[in-house]
């Protein structure tokens, strides 16, 4: 009996001891990047794309950023703010990450932002670009290399306005980026919004909403659904026979390679907006697209380009400060003054969000039967965001 008790106590003690970080701190000149992203569940395609893009850039840069050897510590946030918070705490306090990146969903980012900024660590966003951090809550430690949440939707709103659709039915998940999305769309679309529907984030069955659309008989439908949500919405929209009746307008998030792969032919003909496209003509993009296809055996979606660009931006900033992240203002300003990306040279507003072009793309079936996005035209040139004037930085 005593033996068993002793055994239990020993096991518990061993467990505690195993947590002690015995190994000496690794060489100080290694840059530790905490990469928190959605790598499981319905949003995983996005996280994996960003991660693969990021890793590809690292490979192209010889596994160094700004001259420093890099160690990437990945963590899966499971698209859950609580999980993300403990992952970020682990990265900051236990692993002492020097810089964080990777978050896909804006609700996740907003839940961990104060933790990251409060520790004086930079967060370089490859995706989530909530309006909160663009306006009065803008932060020295926050930069987004991709877009502000509203941007792609503003472009699509502008397109719907140009096409003179009199009425529109608009939908998005009920989370910060979903609300930003419809705000952005309405900022440029001046027709009548017959219904504005917010669904639960992660909802996968849209039969109730599709019945509402059918009953409302709008001239156009605009839906922002990233990842598996988008795949299901579009499939069900097509299966209900609505694709031929009401044109579906989408942001690039719901109409890029990850969604096209899963939905296939029914998507042909759909128009969507993006800040990036496969065929953008510059050497960085060409190398990115070719090597991505070769390395991962799939077509990159816009998320992958954003992950790639995040690494390029960090590299650019670190070069300017000689790898010394404590020179915060210089690091930030180096990136803000512009870096070369898959979209060419990107400039920024003082709130840390890009000023760039937004394009119109259409999903087409190519000669060899492959369904891909084709660049059609430019919707906005040198377009910023609506919140920069509220940012009091610098």
């Amino acid at each position: 009996m005593k033996v068993k008790r002793t055994a239990v106590v020993c096991v518990l003690l061993a467990a505690v001891l195993s947590l002690v970080p015995w190994q000496a701190r690794s060489q100080p000149r290694t840059l530790r990047i905490g990469f928190v992203s959605t790598l499981s569940g319905g949003g995983a395609a996005l996280g994996v794309d960003v991660l693969d893009g990021f890793n590809l850039a690292l490979r192209h840069l010889g596994n160094r950023l700004g001259g420093l050897p890099v160690e990437v510590l990945t963590a899966d946030d499971q698209q859950n703010p609580d999980v993300a918070r403990s992952a970020v705490e682990r990265l900051l306090r236990r692993d002492r990450a020097d810089l964080l990146t990777g978050i896909i969903f804006s609700n996740v980012l907003l839940a961990v932002g104060d933790l990251v900024f409060g520790s004086g660590v930079f967060y370089i966003s490859p995706n989530a670009g909530p309006s909160e951090y663009a306006g009065s809550q803008c932060n020295l430690h926050f930069l987004n290399v991709a877009w502000q949440n509203d941007n792609l939707h503003e472009a699509m709103g502008h397109y719907a306005q140009l096409k003179r659709y009199e009425t529109a039915f608009i939908l998005a998940p009920n989370y910060p980026a979903g609300r930003d999305a419809l705000t952005g769309f309405k900022r440029f679309y001046k027709g009548q919004v017959v219904s504005e529907v917010y669904t639960r984030l992660g909802q996968l069955d849209y039969s109730a909403e599709i019945a509402q659309i059918r009953a409302a008989r709008p001239r156009a439908v605009y839906a922002f659904y990233p990842g598996a949500m988008g795949v299901n919405f579009i499939k069900q929209y097509a299966e209900a026979g609505l694709m031929q009746q009401v044109p579906l307008l989408l942001p690039g998030f719901s109409a890029d390679a990850d969604v096209i792969r899963a939905v296939g032919k029914p998507m042909v003909g759909v128009f969507n907006s993006s800040h990036w496209a496969l065929e953008l003509f510059n050497p960085i993009n060409r190398r990115f697209v070719e090597d991505f296809r070769r390395s991962y055996n799939r077509v990159p979606a816009l998320y992958a380009s954003q992950g790639y660009d995040a690494a390029l931006a960090i590299d650019h900033g670190l070069r300017a400060v000689g790898g010394d992240l404590s020179r915060k203002a210089e690091f930030r300003n180096a990136i803000l003054s512009g870096f070369d990306s898959t979209r060419g040279r990107v400039r920024f507003n003082r709130n840390g969000y890009p000023i760039q072009n937004y394009y119109l793309r259409q999903v087409v079936e190519s000669a060899n039967g492959e369904v891909v996005n084709r660049l059609v035209g430019t919707i906005f040139r040198n377009h910023g965001d609506a919140y920069a004037s509220q940012c009091r930085l610098r």
Binding site: L39, S40, G41, G42, A44, A45, V48, D76, N174, R179, S195, E196, V197, Y198, T199, R200, L204, D205, S207, A208, A211, Q212, R214, A215, R217, A228, V231, N232, K235, Q236, A238, E239, A240, G241, A262
Partner: protein, 306 residues
């Protein structure tokens, strides 16, 4: 047009309700006959969906996937019954809860190891991925109609088994009074194994059929499991009839709440606020329904226990 909307939402509610029924029928039998709280029921549903997705992907036939899912999940159910559940039959509910919760963790992580962390997207069989006109002016997804039909067919089949066969008689006897049934010579051990395999097979059908409508991912079983528990408590533990009524009630209330409440509230407040309140209230409605049923009829709508 409003009529069309109501019919379409009703079909949606029925379809969701019937799938809930497939899940809760097994759960209610396991709980009623075996007196086991099986939290891992949702994991069997998940397993069914994964197997269906894998086999459908490999063979190209969706229905082969469904068949494989049923067989494989029933087999796994038998193994789980023999290795874990048999040990916790005599224990209290708390031990069963801990053991089956542990099973959830093992199944979830196992699925992650075998199938990877990303969600699998199962496709509707091509011959069904088109709309069908059910009313003039109303087209509905052919696949959803088939799901409805399969659900209804299985419900009828289950009733015939429960009420017309010897096995069904034993099951009913076990649910109403286990000790008496054993004394009367019902081979309880075998009945338990068959009931558990049956419940696993039913949840696999639900998982496989819902796969193309939802997505096949780790954790898909947990939320629907709680709804299934709500259904069987409303219907009365051990009663298949009760779980059918409960499932249809919950399915319709949930769909109606999501469909009709937000537009109603949108008249009064901002769309975001309405979208927050509407579905939340619909969910509250389900639990309120359960609390009221329990308060008025503590044994559920169709009590079984003698």
């Amino acid at each position: 047009m409003a009529g069309g909307l109501v019919v379409e939402q009703l079909l949606n509610g029925l379809q969701f309700g019937l799938m809930l029924f497939l899940l809760s029928a097994g759960l209610t039998l396991v709980l009623g006959v075996m007196d086991v709280v099986n939290l891992a029921h949702g994991s069997l549903y998940m397993l069914g969906a994964y197997v269906a997705a894998t086999v459908a992907g490999a063979t190209g036939s969706f229905w082969a996937g469904v068949g494989a899912a049923v067989v494989a999940t029933a087999a796994v159910g038998l193994v789980v019954e023999a290795t874990v559940l048999r040990r916790v039959y005599p224990r209290d509910h708390l031990t069963q809860v801990l053991a089956t919760f542990a099973l959830i963790l093992v199944f979830n992580e196992g699925a992650r190891i075998v199938w990877g962390p990303q969600a699998l997207l199962l496709s509707v069989p091509p011959e069904l991925s088109r709309p069908v006109a059910v009313l003039p002016n109303l087209t509905y997804s052919a696949y959803r109609l088939v799901v409805l039909g399969v659900g209804a067919g299985l419900a009828v089949l289950l009733f015939l088994v429960i009420h017309r066969t010897r096995l069904g008689m034993w099951v009913r006897a076990g649910a109403s009074n286990r000790a008496m049934a054993r004394a009367m010579g019902v081979p309880i051990q075998q009945v338990f194994a068959v009931v558990f395999a049956l419940s696993a097979a039913l949840s696999a059908v639900a998982g496989a059929l819902l796969g193309p409508i939802l997505a096949v991912q780790v954790g898909m079983g947990e939320d629907i499991l709680i709804l299934a528990f709500v259904v069987i408590v409303i219907g009365g533990i051990g009663s298949v009839k009760g779980s059918l009524v409960g499932a249809l009630l919950v399915g319709t209330v949930d769909t109606a709440g999501r469909a009709f409440l937000p537009p109603l509230f949108a008249q009064l407040m901002s769309p975001e606020a309405a979208s927050n309140l509407g579905p939340a209230l619909a969910s509250v409605l389900i639990y309120l329904l359960m609390a009221v049923v329990l308060f008025v009829r503590p044994q559920g709508l169709f009590p079984v226990r003698a």
